[in-house]
Symmetry: C2
Subunit: 241 residues, 2 copies
């Protein structure tokens, strides 16, 4: 892990850009260290997502958490994948035509992404947990929800997850969700134009966790109410402190 | 409204029992007055429900809210209704036999209760809002959810409602829910043995409110997690203060 940039905000939060095996990422740490760590998931494209991710990270830091994220495979400044571009184009066509999105498209879009991304997040976790200002335990927060599901299943250092049900989920991932046992808070936008509500409810039902809470709010994909940021901090405070 | 008992708790909360037109009730007020008021709904039977209701009221009072409740028709020490007893017995039989609960039973059980109870809650509100230690605005919190729906529709003084989706809901009430416009937080126990999950989700979908949030948690009817008490206080703090 090599740090590539550094800035300190008025609120005392230190932001560092880094690169790890060619993958760019960001780390935000609060003044008080060592802090529990929240991995911040996103749909890919760090340059465009940066303002929202930095805002989420600083909101977490204000509650005493460090936060980190890395770029997703085939997104942002990383090399593209022809197969992923094809699957994305097929999804876009189906949505624009108002057709149901068939399982084949979802599988081609999501499963290779999960297979590629999850080992990268685990490698980032290895590197992050060696830093003196990062303690444990570790949470995952955000989408892509399928990445969060796989991480929660295979990575024992993830102690709690706040998952955003805002993307299509392969049936195989719904099956994997039965193996998840960590405490969960799941966010669902009730009228998310790019998401299937019933599929999200089925996924919530499938999780094996004894403590799982669904927070469904009105509005579309990007309309998550601000108060859910505070609710997320309280969820992680219960489980990471 | 005639006060029948009075005690002050260690936390400074004043509890007063009262009777209004022959209906018993309780009022809890925090030290700082005047306070916004939360009407606390319940399934009926104040003598048995008292410990839980007093705990909820004092939790609300700690966040600066007054709270009040009245006995439901045909419950507790109030006269029984043969029709209500019949409907309850039919419901119990259907549940014990593992049969689907038909609409007729739900209508006979819930609609007369709503018709009788809602004017009583409104009369209680008239009397409560004349007391010097009660300000406004007013929220409704709890079940019977059908009573909460009707109150939110017909009573303009209700500014926000935290509804517990833990009882069967007549189709007519689902239709009424489309007229509800106040901010809502709806609690659903995912594996509630005496409630139909899909019906609860349909009801949540039907509400006309622009701001509505569903909090679904694991477990049965009485297993609402403690942290939902805090989440409820924050919901009312956003809308009643």
């Amino acid at each position: 892990m090599r740090f590539t940039s550094e800035q300190r905000f008025d609120d005392g939060v230190l932001e560092r850009g880094f690169t790890l095996g060619g993958i760019p990422g960001f780390l935000w740490t609060p003044a008080a260290a060592p802090a529990p760590l929240i991995l911040i998931g996103h749909p890919g494209g760090l340059p465009g997502m940066y303002p929202r991710l930095a805002a989420r990270a600083r909101h977490s830091a204000a509650a005493g958490f460090a936060a980190a994220t890395i770029e997703l495979p085939w997104s942002g400044d990383r090399p593209r994948s022809a197969a992923a571009e094809d699957a994305r184009a097929d999804l876009r066509r189906a949505l624009e035509a108002g057709e149901p999105v068939d399982d084949g498209i979802v599988d081609r879009l999501v499963l290779p992404l999960v297979d590629q991304a999850v080992p990268e997040w685990r490698a980032a976790l290895d590197a992050l947990l060696e830093l003196p200002d990062i303690g444990g335990p570790v949470g995952y927060s955000g989408g892509v929800i399928s990445i969060g599901v796989r991480l929660a299943v295979v990575e024992p250092r993830i102690s709690a997850a706040l998952l955003f049900a805002g993307s299509f989920v392969p049936r195989a991932i719904v099956e994997e969700a039965r193996q998840v046992t960590v405490p969960l808070q799941v966010l669902l936008q009730w009228d998310d134009e790019g998401n299937d509500r019933q599929q999200a409810l089925d996924l919530f039902d499938a999780f094996g966790s004894k403590e799982k809470t669904l927070h469904a709010n009105m509005g579309g994909h990007t309309g998550v109410p601000e108060f859910e940021g505070d609710a997320g901090n309280r969820f992680f405070a219960r489980h990471l402190k």
